[in-house]
């Protein structure tokens, strides 16, 4: 179950990262999987973060999520 959700989360990121936009709010991700319980999506995201498939990006005030491969060098 959780593996499946992780897969779908990842698919979401892959799909949505095709354009210029690479960073997403956790809320976007939750909205992207409307049939899955919010908490389960958050748990899956956390696992993906632990696995460093996803990465956080924080402006200090606001936090975004992105695929590790898209993480900017320094900027």
């Amino acid at each position: 179950m959780s593996a499946e959700i992780k897969e779908r989360v990842l698919a979401y990121f892959r799909e949505k990262s095709k354009g210029d936009k690479k960073m997403f709010y956790i809320k976007d991700v939750v909205k992207g999987l409307p049939d899955v319980d919010r908490h389960a999506v958050q748990a899956a995201v956390k696992e993906l973060l632990d696995e460093e498939v996803l990465k956080y990006w924080s402006s200090g005030s606001t936090t975004y999520l992105m695929l590790a491969e898209n993480f900017p060098k320094d900027a």
């Binding site: 709010y25 956790i26 809320k27 976007d28 919010r38 958050q42 995201v45 956390k46 973060l49 632990d50 990465k55 956080y56 990006w57 924080s58 402006s59 200090g60 005030s61 606001t62 936090t63 993480f71 900017p72 320094d74 900027a75």
Partner: protein, 399 residues
């Protein structure tokens, strides 16, 4: 002095107030980053403009917060502050330290950073001011080793803080330090792994004097208060009067509810406790004579914040009185329900107060299971735009 490279900043070494310029210069003796900070700041003083670029950075491993990324917009001139990130270290509750712990922090920061700090940031963290991206993880490792952890940043629970409370204050009606510490420990995950719509702040003041500005600066404010009678020591009241305190003028007349009477003849003070709103004024003026009542607990308020986007909010009473004893189950359950509702309904970058305002207090109360009580409002609504719940309406079909 004339050939100083920082003539403008040098001006700020003069005068009796401790000088931050001296601090930077002191650090600059050892640290090139501090030296370039000084130089870049001098340029800002000349240009009257900041020279930092928008930051943005990952936290340390496993974390999404605790680090504020920062880059110079003139790395050509100030290469040592090309990257100059801060680390937010969760302060020991109440900002108490033993020097050995403080010295450890200093050593770590001399090793990894600019040698400059803020004790403390205005959310309460010990701010380690300026390091490079490479040093973030090693610095964190050393901090962790020394028993420190990072505080919050981004869309996370921010480092909770508490007034000095029972540690050094006779008015503490709740154990602000323990509550804050337990919240901090219990909610570690929320602090380090941002999953909220936006930031969330918790502050605990053990009485209505609110020495950590909980009511103004936190999404959830916990403020000590009491029920029942103010404890009066009539002899000490008289002692204050004997010592020259104008009890009528300085105490009774300033009582917001005018519920106190001082009889000069009897030299007695009568308090109509039923009218008292526990503002603290009389206790503040006569600490030796008056003490909070014996049944103690907290008022819980939510929604406080700075102006962006829809204007500043002071927090709103949602629970007039809650007993607070370890393990604070009722409190932490309530916090969980509140955060869950906010997490579910809040838009990105929407604070709790703004969400309640957008959806309506009645929806909030219903969702978190709190009854409406008059203590929640300054006064009932003045506009007639009242919603009724479907179940309150006579169901007969309207043709």
């Amino acid at each position: 002095m004339t050939d100083s490279k920082t003539p403008l900043l040098d001006e700020l070494e003069k005068g009796p107030w401790p000088s931050f310029v001296k601090e930077i210069k002191q650090a600059a003796e050892k640290k090139p980053a501090a030296a370039d900070l000084l130089n870049q700041l001098e340029l800002s003083y000349k240009d009257r403009i900041g020279h930092w670029k928008h930051g943005g950075i990952v936290g340390v491993k496993g974390y999404g917060s605790g680090v504020i990324g920062r880059y110079s917009d003139r790395p050509d001139l100030f290469p040592n502050v090309q990257a100059f990130h801060t680390m937010r270290v969760n302060h020991p509750t109440g900002w108490f330290y033993k020097t050995d712990a403080l010295r450890k922090l200093c050593d770590i920061w001399d090793k990894h950073g600019s040698g400059l700090t803020n004790l403390h940031g205005s959310t309460g963290d010990a701010i380690l001011l300026g390091t490079t991206t490479e040093h973030l993880q090693p610095c964190f490792d050393d901090l962790s080793e020394a028993g420190f952890d990072l505080g919050g940043s981004g869309s996370a629970l921010r480092t909770p803080s508490a007034c000095v409370g029972p540690a050094r204050c006779e008015w503490a009606c709740i154990d602000s330090l323990d509550i804050c510490y337990q919240a901090t420990m219990t909610l570690q995950d929320q602090i380090h792994r941002p999953m909220f719509p936006y930031k969330f702040k918790i502050k605990v003041s053990a009485c209505a004097n609110d020495c950590v500005s909980a009511i103004a600066r936190s999404d959830l404010a916990i403020m000590g208060t009491w029920k029942g009678r103010i404890q009066v020591d009539p002899a000490e009241v008289r002692a204050y009067a004997d010592a020259g305190l104008d009890i009528r003028g300085e105490v009774c007349d300033l009582c917001p509810t005018k519920c106190m009477e001082w009889s000069e003849a009897d030299r007695t003070l009568v308090i109509h406790d039923g009218d008292c709103n526990r503002c603290m004024h009389c206790l503040n003026v006569m600490p030796k004579a008056l003490r909070p009542g014996k049944e103690r607990g907290a008022s819980i308020l939510v929604g406080g914040k700075a102006p962006i986007v829809q204007g500043s909010l002071l927090s709103w009473v949602i629970v007039p009185f809650m007993k607070l004893e370890p393990p604070y189950t009722e409190l932490f359950d309530l916090i969980a329900r509140i955060q869950d509702w906010w997490d579910e309904n809040g838009r990105s970058r929407e604070r709790l107060g703004e969400l309640i305002n957008r959806l309506g207090m009645r929806h909030f109360l219903k969702a978190v299971g709190l009854p409406a009580v008059p203590q929640m409002v300054k006064h009932p609504r003045t506009n007639p735009y009242v919603f009724f719940w479907p179940e309150e309406i006579d169901k007969k079909e309207v043709k």
